[in-house]
Assembly symmetry: D2
Homo-oligomer: 350 residues x 4
């Protein structure tokens, strides 16, 4: 830690701040420069230092406090240089194979879900997504089928051998959702719902942690650190677009974050181009871009009849477009030495 003093600091300021560093376990090392005086704080446990940084910044004789170590440890790349692979009932995320997670934004009916699940399974994808509890900006929107939706998801997963990914919003329903789902998703608006993060750190299910739409990469990794610190290291990060000044797309998909997070962390990272763009026509190109820059998978909204989807139809793909996209993704995967699993014969209900 480097404490930069204001030009007008006094000797008693210097002493006070050096004492403060010692209090939190750091060895203070003052360097008197021509223009600036700084104090290096060496050693000490990172955990102790977190709050000390704030305190030192508040000192009137301090101009700035520079921190040169990362604030997260458990999810840092250094902790596991070879990367984490997450095994979800035999399907691995973070290995050679690109994970395809697809399905409707919202579970609307048995027919809608089963039709979609069949198509998803046929392409070789191994994960079915679908919302049973839906966050909505307006209180007057549909909020999901709830437990009935969860049951449909589970049934579809069993029928078509798909692993279920679904969001949990309410901390009181974590156990309930975990009964039905294989992977529990934390939505973008809940990325800093710390009580929920801690609760999900205590269950035995992989977590798909969406990036907050206004979260810096460091904050996203700290949210993952919360989960890991509570005991669950099965975390899949998901970039889903950030909020910027641009209004031509629903969000700005931040693909820079993919190779960056792969450097900073050992966790697998996937991309959600449906929310990341908000436009059906952009989902295909951005799925390819995601795989090209190193994502471990994509999560795509697919609907039998997008213009009658209850939510997010404008970013949902039709079956036809989804089916034609998969081999295109396979070509990109090959070009970066990754693979996509092959189409599967499914007993069809059609």
């Amino acid at each position: 830690m480097i404490v930069v003093l204001r030009p007008e600091y006094t000797q008693s300021d210097l002493k006070r701040i050096m004492a403060h560093l010692q209090e939190v376990g750091l060895t203070p090392n003052p360097i008197i420069g021509e223009e600036k005086t700084i104090i290096l704080g060496i050693g000490g446990s990172e955990h102790l230092k977190v709050d000390a940084i704030d305190q030192l910044r508040a000192d009137d004789a301090v101009e700035d406090v520079l921190v040169i170590t990362k604030p997260y440890k458990l999810v840092a790349r250094e902790a596991k240089p070879n990367g984490t692979q997450i095994d979800v009932r035999g399907a691995v995320i973070g290995g050679e194979e690109i994970a395809i997670i697809a399905g409707p934004c919202t579970v609307e009916s048995e027919t809608q879900l089963m039709l979609t699940a069949e198509i998803v399974a046929e392409t070789g994808a191994k994960f079915l997504r679908g919302g049973a509890y839906k966050p909505s900006t307006s209180p007057y929107s549909f909020h999901g089928m709830g437990v009935e939706g969860l049951a449909l998801l589970k049934a579809a997963g069993q029928k078509y051998d798909l692993r279920i990914v679904t969001e949990v919003m309410d901390i009181r329903k974590v156990e309930l959702v975990a009964e039905y789902a294989d992977v529990l998703q934390i939505g973008t608006r809940n990325m800093q719902n710390y009580d929920l993060l801690r609760e999900l750190g205590m269950i035995r299910r992989p977590i798909l942690l969406k990036r907050g739409f206004a979260a810096k990469v460091e904050e996203w990794l700290l949210a993952a650190e919360y989960i890991a610190n509570a005991g669950n290291d099965q975390i899949i990060l998901c970039e889903r677009g950030i909020r910027t000044f641009e209004t031509a797309t629903r969000n700005t998909l931040d693909l820079n974050a993919i190779p960056l997070v792969k450097q900073l962390s050992h966790l697998p990272v996937i991309v959600d181009p449906s929310h990341g763009t908000g436009k059906r026509d952009l989902v295909g190109p951005m799925s390819k871009a995601a795989i090209a820059c190193g994502a471990d998978g994509v999560i795509i909204e697919v609907h039998p009849n997008p213009d009658h989807a209850i939510k997010d139809g404008s970013q949902s793909m039709t079956f036809e477009r989804f089916q034609s996209l998969i081999p295109e993704l396979g070509r990109i995967a090959s070009a970066v030495d990754r693979i996509l699993s092959s189409p599967v014969a499914v007993k069809t209900s059609r």
Copy 2:
């Protein structure tokens, strides 16, 4: 609602979309222009239309859907043209008097809290703030004293006749916090935690709803609409700075939002210049600016010893600076025909 069709739409597209509008209770009215064809959807209940907008946007023949009515009703200015005044045990927010809410970021000890409460009360301020449960970006930070902190707040409120404002983060603790606090605060990271909003809509305590740091004004008002729709219309809005590209201040305090929200909504609005700037030296000037542009109050962090505050010391005021600020705010209040309550003699513990 105005549905703009793509140039290449067909007659069957037109029929389908007109039928869709009728399904959701709207009378469709097609207008064939030279460059564009649009369909007006007239009448209908706003509640039914929320999800229909998404569906229509997803239709391949639709270029855009323009909505010309506001998505919130209960909190809109039209619902209560004279504005809402919220009476918190005799202290009114939203009336002629500017509300001063002050106290430490975090409750740290009985001494710290009582010393601060005494100073706050002496200035004539009627509200004491303080965190018992603290959201922190890092899992390794201090997370607050919990119920012990709540008890201290209640004791300080009773001793110095101050109303208590404190944050509730965990939906399972709403009832607990309501036992101790007069006003329940929803923090910036929880503005779109919809389950929490609904729960707070069902209790009988005023709610202080902080704006999400990346929330548009419309989303903020929709969050308030959630609470109102669940039954609680005692809502105080609080602007606390938004996240922008600027890094010289912790957040960008969006004071434009104050006169704007006063036009759009009947709810009282206050400003948090401590989080809004992150810098102690800016808190005074921005408190004045807030009152000058129409805020109904300010919420200010004060600490007996800011450079040893556990959190946010760099944005906390010393007692001396806070005491000198209050009469300065009084002068601004007068200049906009508002008042500040007078200093009070308090039995001092010093």
Copy 3:
């Protein structure tokens, strides 16, 4: 154009606004709804309407003005559905082949430039970039070699059969730069320097128009419209990252804009991953992503000795990394049915 009236409008407001629409050549069509009254303005020339929109918005009886036609015409996809191909002395941008533009941020010396040009040419790339006039945030930075740098660029282009891409900043130097360069670049800070845009609309050289770092896609296309409207339709768009709240990368490369702009406009679009990320290690992955989502080329900073580059060394590639990247890009190009030109034997100076 759709004019939405405020609820409290009067009959005389309605008449005034209808007259206003007629003045600017539109046929007014009032629709009296239950909740809202709107006036449709049908027909009329788009050019006349631009300023009228502002005027109508200013009317106290007007709540909003909605425009449903695009504000640009010449650069819109509709104007040239098959897309524009730009032939730069035999090398085409916007065709099947992906354009590779590479070179140092700044021309520093003959040795530096010739060494780089040779490597660039050997990979099969056909364009050499390099700055002779450099915009710098600080007045105390190096501002480029000026005309001497231009002469070196031209010499390198001739020796290695490369087309030269370089920035022009000062409107008084447009003719000078055009004597030396094949493609004139407009930098991100000058995207809305309208006098410069018009001047470049009057020369006979292709223009590479970088997106302003805070420009919306629509504004970027309007900047291109300025150039086209002044007479030059040889415009290459270049996405180079936008400014957002994220500080972990220098900019946020907005790849969503690539497939979006390909839909909206007929102009070719390339990507600058060097400025778009600011980090050398991310340039390779993001170049691949750019090609995967449909970019017509990439512009990459390469330097013989990046850690002694005068500018932007941290985002410049070494020769080795650049040489190994090109075949990787070739694999992605194939996967999206595009091609990269083959390596070339160059008479080496080494």
Copy 4:
């Protein structure tokens, strides 16, 4: 300067980087910590260091370079602790008196301008604004009356004893505009047009430097440093709103920047609430807020008939509203110990 090394650095890396620091005139001082090794570079001229920072960041063994001195010197508060007062033909900006600059967005006709100038003068304001050259996002908008507009401005200034503030966009017209105007304005889109900044550094007229709509405070001060470094220290800074995700207002007026810039720089700072909000109804409240937080003046758009203004009518005030606002601003000025000059009897043309 503090150079942080990557954990895997070698002894030869350390030597190379220390040598690099010496090359640019800094004394290197390595500190080997448990977790991190850093090298302090002490002394040296700031000017030499600007480009060195970039070079060091590019070194593969360097993790980060931290700079603890400000990059601007001439405009820094330290250079002139008592602040700069700018005398514009007897009217001082930056002193006790709040400067009121008012007038139409665009000069449209003699009648429009003279009517406005008269009203402006009557309120006691001493500055008239008006655009003769207008930047417009669309090439199809009105671009101003040019030299004819300048002549009208000069005539209005003479008739009503007002100082003229107008924008110069084209570097080739700097001398021309300086013949007519008292203060030359640099618009938000040209804040980083460095050739223009330098040119304006060489004339003998005060400069009003608007903040770029996506410029950080530091970049804004560096733009001022360009002008000062070229020889002109008569610079007035003007905050006019920044671009954020919020779309409810045209820009987000960043009033935090006012007290912040007053700390960092000795230059006077004024506020443009017309562009800063884009909404006529918000101009009054935000003008008050600007003065309350320490601005040295405001620049306000006024028009005899805002709903027929060619540009920006929706943010222009009527004469009536402007006239009633001035005494309201006077009350705020008093509340912060500043003054507004008194109304003046003007020979009226009405």
